[in-house]
Amino acid sequence: MLEIKQLTVAVEDKEILHNVSLSIGTGETHVLFGPNGSGKTTLLMAIMGFPKYRITGGNIIFDGRDITGLPLDERARLGIGMSFQRPPVVRGVKTRDMVGAALQARGNGATIQNLAEKTNLLEFLDRDINYGFSGGEIKRSELMQLLAQKPELTLLDEPESGVDLENIALIGKLIDELLEKDCPARSRKCMGLIITHTGHILDYVNAKTGYVMMDGCIGCQGEPREMLATIKEKGYQECIECLLHRQTV
């Protein structure tokens, strides 16, 4: 279970998130919509624990434990994992090293070889991580590292953007595995929070809750497919009006 209570986050003295609250039950996957610059990535980075994203108010409770002040690496070892929208290139550090480190940090018995086969990245293992990777390759490499981490809470930042149709099925399958889609709901442990613009990923994951983030606030909550349909039809303008309406009521 992940609970976010009235979270306020600042980046370089600028408050980006204001009083964000949400809660993800054990085994659930939630989806985050919202226009560019609304604060979606910021929320994920803050949950993951990146120091640059300073939590100035509120709490993050993970599996009953307050992790608000816990360092990034400890959160990772605890079982929080994230795929990055724009991960850095680390020269000299091989993809193999990243996967190996993740396996080790979480005591995962899977093999690097097997994960690379699964993600179709065998020939990337001996390349410097992210160096010269295409957009789609980065997405797969991020998922490979996450599969090595086997997190209980998976944070995915636009996992399908820039991915071609053929690979989207692969990405969908990998995410299913991460989120234990094939597991009966009752025994499912893994949680997910996924940022998406296109909603393509909804065809694969079992998400029943969605949010729209607007200007650093969670505007509304609902059934993700319905929300997506509205956004597609009317754009985020509708959300703004809805918010204004609620404020004046």
Binding site: L72, A76, M82, G92, V93, D97, M98, A101
Partner: protein, 433 residues
């Protein structure tokens, strides 16, 4: 400045190419001595000056050692830290060991590969004089001059035409006498279409006592020959080091030079120069430098692309944990269709320490392609955090990035040598971090 080749040579290069070069009219050794005497006070173009009078010129003679595995365990351990393996010589195609000023062992296990003291080679081959001071100028500075005037041996390694060796020849220059100025002159010749791999380990048994190493090395890489030269230095915090190296690479020749310095040294300055005089010749320099507190390094690699289609790549990785590093690189394109790239990266791991990257490119005609990239700074926080997000602690993440920084994938180096080189680097990594 060791850049300018002796006058006669330029002419020959232009006229006939490299073969005629070593056949060219030899300057009598008298001329070299005269030139050296004239340059005996000439300070080096770079690096702090060293007062040679504070060092000794001579050391005791050492007995020849037919079986180097019989050397004292401690000595062998020192040598091993510089890549010299004496307990299982089957891993090497030849071995040369010089202690202070005395060659104590030389042997070749491979037909077609000659390994001997340069004094012995001069007796054996009249023509060897023709190579003397052809790749390095005798009057470059007081160090070259000093080596000419009072040199004590050095090694001669030669691969005969068409001879391709797989296992490396190893050469060890060992400094054991306090305050000694070790002066060697090495000649390496790869005859046409030969292949030669060399590991040179320079090290000292001295703990804190001062010493000076001056080494002139001249490489002659003839048509179609391939030479890889891997030099590992392991000195002490009081050693001063002044290598002077030149290489001449003929048509389709390859010279691949790797340099590793991970241990403290007081002052080290070198700027080896390779000249591509033959068409489509290739030179690659890789260096990995670590400056610990109190170490001062001024290290560069220079390549002159003087023949059509010649190519070079220079890669330097410098880390300071408190010492100073000047990391230089120079590529000059003087012929059509030449290509060169220079990469200079520096990491500052502590609050103290300095890295000054000086990449230089010079082109003298159109149609050449020279480029460089240089970066100096601390480890990017973003990279550390990326690794931490996979569960590594901050120190593990930093160590992984530093290890990656020191990992140079060297194209053209035999796999076994690559592994050894990486091992030499990793052996000292812990001290760095």
């Amino acid at each position: 400045m060791p850049v300018t080749p002796p006058d006669g040579i330029r002419l020959v290069i232009r006229k006939k190419g490299f073969e005629s070069y070593y056949m060219s009219k030899v300057k009598s050794s008298r001329t070299y001595k005269e030139k050296a005497r004239a340059a005996i006070k000439k300070p080096a173009a770079l690096g702090e000056d060293i007062d040679l009078d504070t060092y000794l010129d001579t050391a005791e003679k050492k007995p020849y050692q037919p079986d180097p595995s019989q050397l004292p365990v401690k000595t062998k351990k020192h040598m091993l830290s510089a890549g010299i393996i004496l307990d299982d010589m089957r891993q090497r195609s030849g071995t040369y060991i010089q202690m202070d000023n005395a060659p104590i062992h030389s042997s070749s296990r491979q037909e077609g590969v000659e390994v001997m003291a340069v004094s012995q080679a001069l007796e054996k081959y009249d023509w060897l004089q023709d190579y003397w001071w052809q790749a390095v100028a005798v009057d470059a500075d007081k160090f070259t001059a000093n080596v000419e005037l009072s040199q004590y041996d050095g090694y001669f390694i030669r691969a005969l035409a068409g001879q391709k060796t797989v296992l490396p020849v190893q050469a060890c220059l060992y400094l054991s006498k306090e305050r000694l100025a070790q002066k060697v002159h090495n000649i390496i010749i790869a005859e046409e279409d030969s292949e030669l791999h060399i590991i040179t380990g320079c090290t000292t048994s001295l703990g804190q006592e001062p010493g000076l190493h001056m080494g002139v090395s001249e490489f002659y890489i003839k048509r179609g020959a391939r030479v890889t030269f891997t030099m590992i230095h392991s000195w002490n915090p009081e050693t001063a080091v002044r290598p002077r190296t030149g290489a001449i690479v003929a048509e389709n020749g390859l010279f691949l030079s790797n340099y590793v310095l991970m241990k403290p040294v007081r002052t080290l300055q070198m700027y080896p120069t390779a000249r591509c005089v033959g068409e489509n010749s290739v030179v690659r320099y890789n260096s990995v430098l670590v400056a610990t507190p109190g170490s001062s390094l001024d290290v560069g690699s220079r390549v002159l692309l003087n023949a059509k289609g010649a190519r070079t790549e220079i890669v330097a990785r410098a880390i300071t944990t408190g010492g100073d590093i000047v990391s230089r690189g120079y590529i000059e394109g003087n012929a059509p269709e030449v290509k060169g790239h220079l990469e200079c990266r520096g990491l500052i791991l502590q609050e103290k320490g300095m890295i000054h990257a000086i990449p230089e490119l010079k082109g003298t005609l159109a149609g050449i392609d020279l480029s460089h990239e240089a970066a100096v700074g601390k480890i990017a926080e973003e990279e550390v955090e990326y690794l931490m997000a996979r569960g590594l602690s901050r120190s593990e993440a930093t160590a992984t990035i530093v290890r990656g920084f020191l990992r140079v994938d060297i194209e053209g180096l035999p796999a076994a040598l690559s592994v050894e080189l990486q091992r030499a680097i990793e052996a000292s990594e812990k001290e760095v971090m």
